[in-house]
Symmetry: C2
Subunit: 233 residues, 2 copies
């Protein structure tokens, strides 16, 4: 509002957000163009541009060349979800992390894994199941398939010492990934591993990652009862 001296892109960001919040600019409204705002607020267009770009990426504004900038008609909130290595997630809660490899086998994948990763049924893959513990209690059950063609060095990794989860993050960065969150009833075996009862509701995270259209790994992460994933917005 006051066009005093130095303006930072943060202050422009906050001022625009204030006008949206107070409904001075309503959803769907066309807001002044960058040059006008810069003049109003007493700063350079680059500064306004940075602020508006930020607000657009946060979902508050819709911007299009020539058409101008509008307040988002249907504000879509973009939650930022941190997906850290499981060890760090557990240690971040102040709990002691432990890990146990349950099973590891080199074989060809079942149909659903082929479909997920886009590989053939004859692919050379590593199938690993493991359990992550927090303060000695089962925390997460990991069932993972890794393409050996995409990451041959995983055969040298000592998966008794370091989890596939962590090894992959450090040695096989990916370019693209998918995550699905859902809820499932524990099967007999899942319940046994996680020391709970069959039928208990469990939080499931399914992750698939690619490096330039080459499927790397597909994992099914099943969390112990009571797990909650948090996100600020």
């Amino acid at each position: 509002m006051s066009s005093l001296e130095q303006q930072s892109w943060q202050s422009v960001h906050d001022e625009v957000l204030r006008r949206i919040h107070t409904r001075e600019w309503k959803p769907g409204d066309l807001i002044p163009k960058e040059v006008e705002l810069a003049e109003q607020l007493g700063c350079a267009r680059a500064t306004v541009n940075r602020a508006l770009r930020e607000l657009a990426s946060e979902g508050f504004l819709d911007r299009r060349r020539k058409a101008g900038t509008r307040v988002a008609a249907h504000p879509v909130r973009r939650a930022k979800l941190d997906i850290p290595v499981i060890r760090l997630e557990i240690e971040g809660r102040g709990q002691k992390y432990a890990y146990g490899l349950l099973f590891s086998e080199r074989r060809t994948p079942p149909p659903e894994i082929c479909a997920n990763l886009g590989v053939t049924a004859e692919s050379d893959m590593l199938h690993i199941t493991s359990l992550h513990l927090a303060d000695g209690k089962p925390f997460m059950f990991e069932d993972r398939w890794v393409s050996i063609a995409a990451t041959p060095t995983i055969l040298d990794a000592d998966l008794d010492k370091i989890s596939a989860n962590e090894w992959l993050v450090l040695h096989a960065p990916y370019t693209r990934g998918d995550i699905y969150f859902s809820a499932v009833n524990a099967s007999e075996t899942e319940a046994k591993v996680l020391r709970t009862d069959p039928g208990t509701s469990l939080f499931l995270m399914e992750r698939t990652t690619w490096e330039n259209n080459t499927g790397i790994t597909s994992a099914r992460l099943l969390f112990a009862p009571g797990y909650r994933k948090h996100s600020a917005i």
Copy 2:
């Protein structure tokens, strides 16, 4: 790598990411400073700055003034989760949206809501339960508390026509919010509303929002069996 003519911040972004992916720069490594990179890649420092800033916000780099820029030692993936209005989520799937108000009452909140929103037990609040349907089938059961002090105009809203979910997004923008994702077993009443069996595993989203430390609303969104929340990464 080739320091030819025009360079865009995107190309710098991709080149740096390539060096991280190929482990030319390993986790923890200090990378060249902005001026050096700009020289190497044949562009202005501002361009390098934009690219590195982006990579830092994506979690690939850690940057500190004077200390320089390092490849993130523990890559934390930041998934971006879109939280649209339920109506749009359903329509986006190509299904027909419908909505029914189950219950609406003006009363004082129970202790857990007070704790969530940071309000007193004598607060004037609106308690609303409703059902969102996709193609005529129950999709999501919403149990919501709204602070009347924070948003008095909600008393004028016709909550038979527009859901509280959608009304609040359009009329009560918030500055801060929390989301928790988890899995729960359906209770008797929840199962009845969502037309499933008690004990079925359900995906739960708990949202609380504030406007400058004033609690606005706290909602419990319970999704029908089979629901999966997707996120690209």
